[in-house]
């Protein structure tokens, strides 16, 4: 570690924060990182002694909703401290520097702190047509990503764009939008969601800051502590689901009673996120609590699973209105008609055969045998 850079406590002190505020921050950070109370000491010590890790936050093809979400963290002190003090040697949307100055910040950080800085990426990287669809300071997004990721201590992919491509990667993906983990060969912490929940974001960053390594990940690179359960598993409307009480139409009696939104296309049963536990905006609400089904925004390819208000997506290649059930029903009826028609012609033939056999005029050896057998 570069001992020349000050620790978080030193920075906070110089900015006028009190020791009490520092400790408060430490305990928030410990909670956000999912640490037990008994580990608080370790956090305090880390923030007192360890030099602050520089943080670079890159923006590519995105809408900045991840940043917007982040600054609305329910423990503002965490986000404040992260943004004001610890972090952000470079971030296009919030930095004061511009132009060459800004680019110099980025280069300096990468050069001065190899293996120490944390890289946060917001947005997907277009790779089609040599990456012309997203260039910053004359360089393509992919070049910038490769340069910055090479010596990063940890890479976090913010939001669905960076973790799975999100809307830019929706079919037909005109710019070749690609998630970060497919471009660099380093472990990437995926924090999907459009946007991810602020508290999840601060939780992941503080985990990396406090412990110096990322949280445990699942097979899709997502932190298990936030993404191991479905929205459905802890949804407060779950009792209605099990009881088979569903909203059938927006604003019907059942919607007013707050029944389960499964039939309105709720993606809760197929979506891994912490919404129904942490909720949003400081625990105020989350989509289902506000009466709208989950659209599955933290799942890869969720834009291609439209329409959102239908349990099943429209069937690929058969137009918007066609679900698998409509096509299946048509085929099923077709099969029944086919079988019925077949049975009719078979029976006509069969009766002819029986008639011929009765008259004994048939010259088919098989039937003659049979007739003989019956005599």
């Amino acid at each position: 570690m570069n001992s020349s850079s000050p620790s978080i406590w030193q920075i906070m002190k110089s900015k006028g924060y009190s020791r009490r505020e520092f400790l408060q921050f430490c305990s928030y950070a410990a909670v956000a990182a999912g640490l037990a109370n008994s580990h608080l000491n370790a956090v305090v010590q880390a923030f007192e002694k360890k030099p602050r890790p520089p943080v670079v936050w890159l923006h590519f093809q995105e809408c900045t909703c991840c940043s917007e979400s982040f600054i609305r963290s329910s423990h503002p002190i965490v986000a404040d401290v992260l943004l004001d003090l610890i972090s952000l040697d470079y971030t296009e949307t919030l930095q004061a520097a511009a132009g060459f100055q800004a680019e110099k910040c980025l280069n300096d950080t990468i050069k001065k702190y190899p293996g120490q800085y944390i890289l946060l990426v917001e947005g997907s990287v277009p790779v089609k047509n040599d990456g012309v669809y997203c260039c910053i300071a004359g360089k393509t997004a992919e070049d910038i990503l490769q340069e910055s990721a090479k010596d990063a201590a940890a890479v976090i992919a913010w939001g669905s764009c960076a973790s799975n491509g999100c809307i830019q990667a929706a079919s037909p993906n005109p710019t070749g939008a690609t998630p970060v983990h497919e471009l660099i060969n380093k472990p990437v912490i995926n924090v999907p969601g459009c946007p991810p929940i602020a508290d999840v974001m601060t939780g992941v960053v503080t985990h990396v800051l406090v412990l110096g390594h990322g949280p445990e990940l699942d097979n899709q690179g997502r932190p298990k502590e936030f993404y191991s359960r479905r929205v459905h598993d802890t949804c407060y409307r779950r009792a209605y689901y099990d009881a088979g009480l569903f909203v059938e139409m927006w604003d019907d009696e059942k919607a007013r009673k707050g029944y389960c939104l499964y039939k309105m296309g709720c993606r809760g049963p197929v979506t891994y996120n912490a919404c129904s536990v942490t909720k949003w905006n400081g625990g105020v609400s989350y989509p289902i609590q506000s009466g709208h089904g989950c659209i599955g925004c933290s799942e890869a390819g969720f834009w291609d699973n439209e329409p959102f208000y239908q349990h099943l997506a429209s069937f690929p290649g058969f137009g918007i209105e066609s679900t698998a059930d409509k096509i299946g029903t048509t085929l099923g009826i077709g099969a029944l008609i086919g079988v019925g028609a077949h049975a009719v012609t078979t029976n006509i033939r069969k009766h002819k055969l029986i008639e011929e056999e009765r008259k004994g005029t048939t010259d088919d050896s098989t039937t003659r045998e049979t007739t003989a057998g019956q005599d």
Binding site: D242, G244, L245
Partner: protein, 228 residues
């Protein structure tokens, strides 16, 4: 020409007990899985008069689907095993048309089934080659349905078996897609059941060898006089 040579039939034991037992348990499972699966995908508005704490019907439907799914899956494994140790009619070789004669028989049966031409001579006593091949395709469908089903189930259970299918989810592009394909595949089973049951009856008639009852008693009938 011998005009009235009495046809004699030889009783041939084609479907051993495991095959018959498998067949009916499987058929029952598939019917139950289709019915409960359809309800899971399209829950009907019933019992709206009572409150959530008074009922659990949707949960029960899902429970029946899962229990039946386990029976379905393990019976399927048993059938695969029997395909290696069972009698000649149950062997896996009946299901894959790798011999010329099998391919030709597929053509012949297609003519008989679709164009309704007269059956010339006798086709295989066990599964005819077309039927066998269709069963092979349905075994693949069984496999697909079990794989996607257990992959979906892995989000509700930490048991070893479903967890072994967890990797399917990212492979198919997320759980929504898995569900979508699992649901769409239901229609294969519905179509299969319609056509299969009809063709069993149809072949019962055109072959005249007791096809339908063979899956109950195990015997089919080989015409002796052909060889006299």
């Amino acid at each position: 020409m011998a005009n009235a040579s009495a046809a004699t039939y030889q009783r041939v034991y084609v479907w051993e007990l495991p095959v018959r037992f498998y067949h009916w348990v499987n058929a029952l499972c598939v019917v139950v899985l289709i019915a409960t699966g359809y309800l899971i995908g399209n829950p009907q508005s019933i019992f709206y008069a009572s409150e959530a704490y008074q009922q659990y019907w949707f949960g029960t439907v899902r429970f029946i689907h899962f229990v039946t799914a386990f029976v379905f899956f393990f019976m399927f494994l048993v059938r695969i095993y029997w395909g290696f140790v069972g009698n000649a009619f149950a062997r896996w070789t009946n299901f894959i048309p790798y011999k010329r004669a099998q391919v030709e028989e597929i053509g012949e049966v297609l003519k008989v089934d679709v164009l309704q031409t007269k059956l010339r001579g006798d086709i295989s006593l066990g599964h005819n080659s077309l039927a066998g091949f269709i069963y092979f395709l349905s075994f693949l469908a069984f496999l697909f349905q079990s794989t996607t089903g257990f992959a979906l189930y892995s989000s509700m259970s930490n048991a070893l078996l479903p967890q072994m299918f967890r990797w399917i989810v990212p492979l198919m592009g997320g759980e929504f897609r898995v569900r979508q394909w699992h649901h769409a595949m239901m229609w294969f089973f519905i179509l299969f059941a319609i056509v299969h049951v009809y063709l069993v009856f149809y072949h019962d008639y055109i072959e005249g060898r007791g096809t339908t009852s063979s899956m109950v008693g195990g015997w089919k009938f080989l015409r002796r006089s052909d060889h006299d």
